[in-house]
Structures are given as C-alpha cells and as structure tokens.
Amino acid sequence: MARSEASIWVALGAELVIAAVYVKLVFLSGPAPALASAEMAAIIGKIIVLAIVVTLAGEIAFHILRGGGDDARRDERDRLFASHGNRNAYYALTAGIAMVMAAAALGSDHSSLFGVTTAIDRFVLAHAMLALLIAAAMVKYATMLFHYRRGW
C-alpha cells in the first residue's frame, strides 16, 4: 500500500473518530450546549486537539508498521484520484446544501400549511452544515479509496 493511500485510510479513520467524539460530547452527554457558549467553545477546542493527535498518531503508527519504505511521494495518479474525490465531494455537498436550503425555506414560509413546525433553528442549521462537511469528506475519501482498491 502506497503512503498516499495509507494517509487516506488514516484521514478517514480520524474523521470517523472525531465525528463520533463530537456527537458524544454535544448530543449524548446531557442537554446540548448553546452554539455561542463557553461549553461549546471548549468542545470545539477539544475536537481540534483530538483531530491533530489522532491524525499524527495514525500517520506514525502506519510509518512504524510498514517500516519506512518506498513511495513517499505523490504522483499524477494520486492527484487524479484526489481530483475525482473532490469532484464527488462537491456533488455531495451541493446536494446536501440544496436540501438544507429547501428545508429552511419550507420551514419558514410553509410550516403552517403542513401543520407542523419545521423551522430550522440556528443550532440545527449549524449541525446540518457540519454533518454535510463531514459527509463530503467521507465521499472524497471513499472515492479515492475505491480507485486505489480497484487498482486503477
């Protein structure tokens, strides 16, 4: 496995760990904190530190396991796979944003028509956007790993 592919596995794993920890801290540890609060700032600070630690630990672990070796560079094939990943992530992000915008518009203008309150408050909107960013990153990594595993 080339270093570039291993880095994607590390990034994907780190993303999953970070997302899981965030969900636990914000949603599963009592009432969710307000967006503009010291508690939320502390959580974001912890998440940033965790992201750095997990990514570095993953890279170091991979380096030790494979014992150094060849192919530390990125070449045109790696860049091609990255561009395909970015393209698919863009599609996913665009589709997700369109859905959130539609939900926000319908919620503010037509909630009474449906007889339910569908207005999206700032907390939900912020977390919907965050989930979209994470999903887009997952799509990018999954696309790249698919290409690498396929052997192209």
Partner: protein
Amino acid sequence: MADTQISNTIRKFRFMTGEMTQADLAARIGATRQTVHAIEAGKYAPSLELAFRIARVFNANLEDVFQYPWPDRPSGP
C-alpha cells in the same frame, strides 16, 4: 474510470535492461511503484509527459513503449 486501450511493452523493456524493478523505474520517472504497476497492467494511461519519461529511461521511442489501436488506419499513398 475504465481500463485504457493503450498497451505497452514496459515489461519487455524492463527485462531487456537487466530486469529493472518497478520500484527502480518508478524512482527514475518520479512516480510511485503502484503507478508503474497500474501502467504496466494497462489499468492506467499515463500523461504524455510521464510516458515520455518512461521511454527515455529505456532510451526508446514513445511508440516502441506505448501502442494505441488504429483499426481503420489508411494504407500508404
């Protein structure tokens, strides 16, 4: 991304140059061994620049190393 129609004789050239390894070739053209493997297996079509670099390593012309099918090629004048 489908497999390419471009075929190649990299394996033959590697054999002719003292059984050069894929890793050696990769190092000389500035690519990864996995990329050389994918090119050699016909799964990845290299850029023109990388194709020229590969041909230069073997001191060969581009079309000696890479071939592209031309079924409707007109006969000569």
